[in-house]
């Protein structure tokens, strides 16, 4: 058994042993280990991919939400604006209406006042006439002696009155 000369017996036994190792380990150790490793790696990879996908979905969802929120906000704003416009226009209309009514009322009031004034004037006229008549009556009663003169005077007065 020299150091540099291969020993035939050991060589043969080593070959046999190595072949047995190859077959047994290959079939019962390396095959399940390698396939197990592969399976685990694939599972981990797919899990990571799924997580990534979920993250993306989440982001998309969040973006959607944001968009929806923005839309809602815009709609709210527009509704508010519309409402404000409507309110404003109603106010304007009301103002106009009020103005018209006021004007009409003023006109009415004026007309009434005019009428009242006329009426009052007419009444004053009648009153004046009555008073004049009374005065005349009194004057007449005083100057009853001169009937002709009295009548001429009355006529004169009446003439004057009519001229007024």
């Amino acid at each position: 058994m020299d150091l540099l000369i291969p020993d035939t017996g050991l060589f043969i036994l080593q070959t046999v042993a190595f072949i047995i190792l190859l077959i047994v380990l290959g079939k019962f150790a390396w095959k399940p280990i390698l396939s197990g490793l592969k399976e685990r790696e694939q599972t981990i990879e797919s899990a990571l991919l799924a997580a990534e996908q979920a993250k993306k979905d989440m982001q998309a969802l969040q973006a959607d939400n944001e968009k929806l929120l923005a839309e809602a906000r815009a709609e709210r704003d527009s509704i508010l604006k519309e409402a404000m416009d409507v309110a404003n226009s109603i106010k304007e209309e009301a103002k106009e209406e009020t103005g018209k009514i006021t004007a009409k009322m003023l006109e009415d009031a004026k007309a009434t006042i005019e009428n009242e004034k006329r009426a009052a004037l007419a009444e004053v006229k009648t009153q004046v006439a009555a008073l004049s008549l009374e005065i005349t009556e009194k004057v007449i009663r005083k100057q009853l002696s001169e009937k002709k003169a009295q009548e001429a005077l009355v006529d004169e007065y009446v003439k004057d009155l009519n001229l007024n």
């Binding site: 058994m1 020299d2 150091l3 540099l4 000369i5 291969p6 020993d7 035939t8 017996g9 050991l10 060589f11 043969i12 036994l13 080593q14 070959t15 042993a17 190595f18 047995i20 190792l21 190859l22 047994v24 380990l25 290959g26 019962f28 150790a29 390396w30 095959k31 399940p32 280990i33 390698l34 396939s35 197990g36 490793l37 399976e39 685990r40 599972t43």
Partner: protein, 395 residues
């Protein structure tokens, strides 16, 4: 924290105990070797070192004083004439551990000889009455080779073994190396079949031994096989590469334990492994591989025959380099450790002995590194050669 420091101390204790055992085992061997047989050790510690590096028919554990503690191993011989024969290595030694012939065979210093008709047994062992020897006794009287009988006993060292031959039989004994080979096989089965069970159970985080070996397996797959053989073809060679790596690694590390055999430092073993790679490479050689060797494309025509010669030589130098690299690095490492341990005994100096033992511990640690690196390198080169063979030629 407390628990961690305690385990650290425990680890340290175990490590130092191992180192002490290692030192003790090697030094006591040497002590016995140097003290027991002054005459034999005159040429330095070479015999002692060679005894540790070479294969043997028995497993020598330790020598305490003059008592050799050995495990006898079976000696199996296929005789071309008589068929299969099985002995125990202890049959070939007397009670003083001197070699004696047995059953027509003789073991001396790790060498097995078949006794021929010219064999003359020594007078001191005439009480061992074997049939063949009795008949040979008659020959001795006639040939009158009296002094040769003593020669067998005295100068058993030399290559000169009269009346013995190393031809005519096939020795398939369970030697120390073969025993170590079987132990490593059992160990490999135990480790990897246990780990494989965890993977068969389905998915789960690695645990225990599995987490120790899984990164190594993944490393071999991703950084050796995939890189050198290619993403699509590596799977077919994975069982071979994994078996190769762990076989070399386990045996390299087993070889570093005290009293163990030097299996991966044996040229027959490394040659066997290199030939596996060689045949796998050649049988998987694609068209591109062979055209590259036989008629290298892209090279001027006159140069092609020269390259052909170089490439053909290259086919054979690859397994030779694999064989020698592993054999030499493991054997050299053992020689260095043993030499340094032996220095103190040869110089008979206590201080050198202590320094040498401490230094040998450092070398042993480097040896552990070498054990891993050589397993890696062998696997790496094997996968590179296979990768060249299966390449489709798309450079």
């Amino acid at each position: 924290m407390m628990k961690k420091s305690r385990t650290n101390i425990l680890n340290l204790l175990i490590t130092s105990a191992l180192v002490a055992v290692f030192g003790l085992a090697s030094s006591s061997n040497l002590w016995a070797a140097s003290g027991g047989d002054e005459a034999k050790e005159e040429g330095g510690g070479t015999d002692f070192i060679m005894h540790h590096i070479k294969d043997d028919y028995q497993w020598h554990i330790i020598t305490l004083g003059h008592t050799h503690v050995t495990i006898p191993l079976p000696v199996i011989i296929y005789d071309h004439e008589d068929g299969l024969k099985v002995f125990m290595s202890s049959d070939f030694q007397d009670e003083h551990h001197n070699p004696i012939p047995h059953g027509g065979y003789y073991i001396d210093h790790g060498k097995l000889f078949k006794l021929t008709e010219d064999y003359v047994p020594s007078t001191s062992h005439s009480n061992d009455s074997h049939g063949e020897e009795v008949s040979e006794n008659e020959h001795r009287e006639e040939d009158s080779h009296g002094e040769e009988a003593a020669h067998v006993e005295e100068d058993a060292h030399g290559d000169d073994h009269p009346g013995m031959t190393q031809a005519g039989f096939l020795d398939i004994s369970i030697t120390k190396n073969v025993a170590s080979l079987i132990i490593s096989m059992i160990l490999l089965f135990a480790v990897f079949l246990t780990i494989a069970k965890r993977y068969k159970k389905g998915l789960g985080a690695p645990k225990g031994m599995q987490s120790l070996f899984e990164p190594v397996i993944v490393f071999i797959r991703d950084d050796i096989a995939k890189v050198n053989i290619g993403e699509h073809k590596y799977e077919r060679f994975m069982p071979y590469l994994l078996t190769l790596f762990f076989f070399i690694l386990f045996n390299n590390l087993l070889g570093l334990t005290p009293g163990a055999a030097n299996l991966t430092g044996n040229i027959a073993v490394t040659m066997c492994l290199a030939l596996f790679t060689f045949f796998i490479t050649q049988f998987n050689g694609k068209k591109a591989y062979w055209t590259h060797i036989l008629w290298t494309p892209g090279v001027p025509l006159p140069v092609r025959p020269v390259i052909l010669i170089v490439e053909v030589i290259g086919i054979f130098t690859k397994p030779i380099s694999l064989t020698l690299r592993l054999f030499a690095s493991i054997t050299a490492g053992h020689i260095v450790v043993l030499s340094i341990v032996g220095l103190g005994f040869i110089l008979n100096n206590m201080a050198v002995g202590i320094a040498g033992t401490l230094f040998s511990v450092v070398i042993s640690l480097i040896e552990i590194l070498v054990a891993v690196i050589q397993a890696y390198v062998f696997t790496l080169f094997s996968s590179m050669y296979i990768g060249q063979a299966v390449d489709d030629g798309h450079h």
